[in-house]
């Protein structure tokens, strides 16, 4: 095999590093909001590199064998990436809002403008 393998290993290494950092963030951060940062963002960024690894493998195979199914493999993994990018933040919004409305206040927060709105506004 060739340099493409090393490229794939590099992408996978970045992917694993970010997912590991996401897990560390879950343990280190004090409350649900800050943990969301680690849990959602780091895994998204990691997954981007997992998709790059798949794309690198598929494009190399396409180059070697000329089989169109590898082009399809690349396109499909990018479709998966776009779906992830659209759904992941929506899930994060939902969790954050639900947590705030059910009474989990941000720990160690220096300012909570949302609390002010809920307190003085419609509710």
């Amino acid at each position: 095999m060739s340099w493409v393998n090393y490229l794939i290993y590099a992408f996978l290494a970045v992917n694993i590093t970010f997912n590991l950092l996401g897990s560390i963030a879950l343990h280190r951060f004090p409350d649900v909001y800050t943990r969301l940062h680690g849990a959602t963002k780091c895994t998204t960024f990691g997954t981007i590199f997992a998709v790059f690894a798949v794309a690198a493998h598929a494009l190399y195979q396409l180059h070697v064998t000329g089989d169109a199914k590898y082009l399809q493999m690349t396109l499909h993994s990018f479709v998966a990436l776009i779906a992830l990018l659209l759904t992941n933040p929506v899930g994060a919004h939902a969790i954050a809002k639900a947590a705030h409305l059910s009474g989990y206040k941000p720990a160690k927060a220096v300012i909570d403008a949302y609390e002010e709105k809920l307190g003085g506004g419609k509710e």
Partner: protein, 161 residues
């Protein structure tokens, strides 16, 4: 008939990517499925045909996508990685004023903010986004906006408004 063309085009492209073939059978099926979907849901998805089919807006969308991944994400990730390791955080929820009015543009700004590490949108109302920010440097809404989402909003305006 509003929105039929744009929706059908998008459905057709998605169909072709998923089947991964360009045989006449698949092309015809794709056109039938695309037009059917466009007739069914186009009027809910598109408010203005001329805007939805404007290639300049699509080009800005592509520019935004690349800029977002190569610059915004990487910069923010480097910062948050450091905070995870050092534990140096100052969390809080700040108010950020939002100028754009269309639903798509607001969704784009909110999703971009949430996808950038260090900020999660908690709620949105008519004029403000409520953003949980991992390192609060200011509680002035205008100042916070400059640091969090000014760039996102500029692109959202070019693409959707």
């Amino acid at each position: 008939m509003r929105g039929v063309v744009a929706t059908a085009l998008l459905a057709f492209i998605t169909y072709i990517i998923f089947t991964g073939s360009l045989t006449p059978y698949d092309l015809v099926t794709g056109v039938i499925v695309g037009v059917a979907i466009g007739l069914l849901v186009g009027r809910f998805l598109v408010e203005n045909d001329a805007k939805a089919l404007n290639p300049v807006r699509w080009a800005w969308g592509l520019v935004y996508f690349l800029w977002y991944f190569l610059v915004a994400e990487v910069k923010a990730h480097a910062d948050v990685m450091r905070r995870i390791i050092t534990g140096d955080i100052e969390p809080g929820i700040v108010k950020v004023p939002l100028k754009v009015k269309s639903e798509y543009a607001r969704t784009l700004v909110a999703n971009s903010i949430t996808n950038t590490p260090g900020t999660v949108v908690v709620d949105v109302d008519e004029d403000y986004l409520y953003v949980n920010w991992i390192n609060v440097t200011t509680d002035e809404p205008e100042e916070a906006k400059k640091e969090i989402c000014e760039e996102f909003e500029k692109y959202a305006e070019r693409i959707f408004e």
